[in-house]
Symmetry: C2
Subunit: 212 residues, 2 copies
């Protein structure tokens, strides 16, 4: 059964789910959510996900939100990318949680504020604060990746790679420059060389130029 992923191109959290589903070989099709037109605040969308967020996965009677939960589900149904041993599975979950809390939360929010909010509404103090936290997280990830190919797995990519990379392919400036983080840059190239990988704006409908 082909599942439906409610998503839009600008959402790195949706990209984590889309990339994981693709690399796990789980059939899926996108359903475009007009976030910038206010769709996630409508009663219809809130009925689908009371948390009011993208992505949402719908597969028969299953409705699942939170990118990490969708990623975990994709690994369970495919038997792929979830780690090969109990120890690897612990590492996958650990880095997935770390990403959600420490990396993507700062990267995604800062990118939104610095690029997609009207200029007069951009809160400079918050953007600065998020920038400092983002640099701390990137330092942890770059150091971690200096001696390894993948974030959590020994032999290959896992959910943790798709989570940590969620916002790092986007072109809009948000405080991440590959030149500053060489191990992260090499790892992003490694991930992008996997069969099936596509850029978020190629994998999901919606991109900034649509609104230009």
């Amino acid at each position: 059964m082909t599942g439906r992923l409610y998503c839009f191109g600008e959402s790195g959290n949706a990209y984590k789910a889309a990339l994981t589903l693709t690399l796990c070989g789980v059939p899926w099709e996108p359903v475009f959510v007009d976030f910038f037109g206010g769709e996630t605040r409508t009663p219809a969308f809130r009925a689908l996900n009371p948390m009011g967020e993208v992505p949402v996965w719908v597969e028969g009677g299953l409705i699942l939100s939170q990118s990490g939960a969708i990623q975990w589900h994709a690994a369970e149904v495919s038997g792929r990318m979830g780690g090969e041993s109990p120890g690897e599975r612990r590492e996958v979950l650990r880095w997935l949680l770390w990403d959600n809390h420490k990396l993507s939360a700062q990267a995604g929010t800062r990118r939104f504020m610095a690029n997609f909010l009207p200029e007069a509404q951009r809160p400079a103090a918050v953007i600065d604060w998020l920038g400092a936290r983002l640099r701390s997280a990137l330092q942890v990830l770059d150091t971690h990746l200096a001696g390894r190919d993948w974030v959590a797995g020994g032999a290959g990519p896992t959910l943790a790679d798709c989570a940590c990379a969620g916002y790092l392919y986007y072109p809009e400036p948000f405080g991440f420059d590959r030149a500053d983080w060489p191990a992260i840059g090499r790892w992003l190239d490694r991930l992008a060389a996997l069969p099936g990988w596509r850029h978020p704006y190629e994998m999901m409908p919606g991109r900034p130029s649509d609104r230009a």
Copy 2:
């Protein structure tokens, strides 16, 4: 084997792990981390956890950070609190991730800034911004709990309850008042009535009055 939890009383993220280990019946003892004395920035602590964060779980050769990963591990080794069915386990993970990203990230950071930073260093704009995000998260949780006893499980408490409650028993003002969120208040009472429950300042060493 009794594991060791590196923690301190003021850390709601450590409390999530401590409460889960206790309710799961996993033997543990606390190792006090002098966060306010700078211990998490020392080379010795960074060797234990390069992410520089509390909690850390050490059990024989296993070293595990991230509260949610420690919680998940406690559920696996005890067979308790992780959900009774695949559907419940998905819900447990979904709400655990939501808490980490949307609730505790705001609550913990705001409580730290508004109470534990020197007054001259408190960034008012960031504290305001976190307050608005915290209220949105509390609204989602209160609405969710209005019709149910526990966050994710049908029949009893799970990891998701311990995660979402992580910061909500603390007395320091950070923008959460039970009077505003009646369903959350009733759920916190329900959780606190479980055998073994203790307040974070009773369960882990370290509390603000130690530094008065």
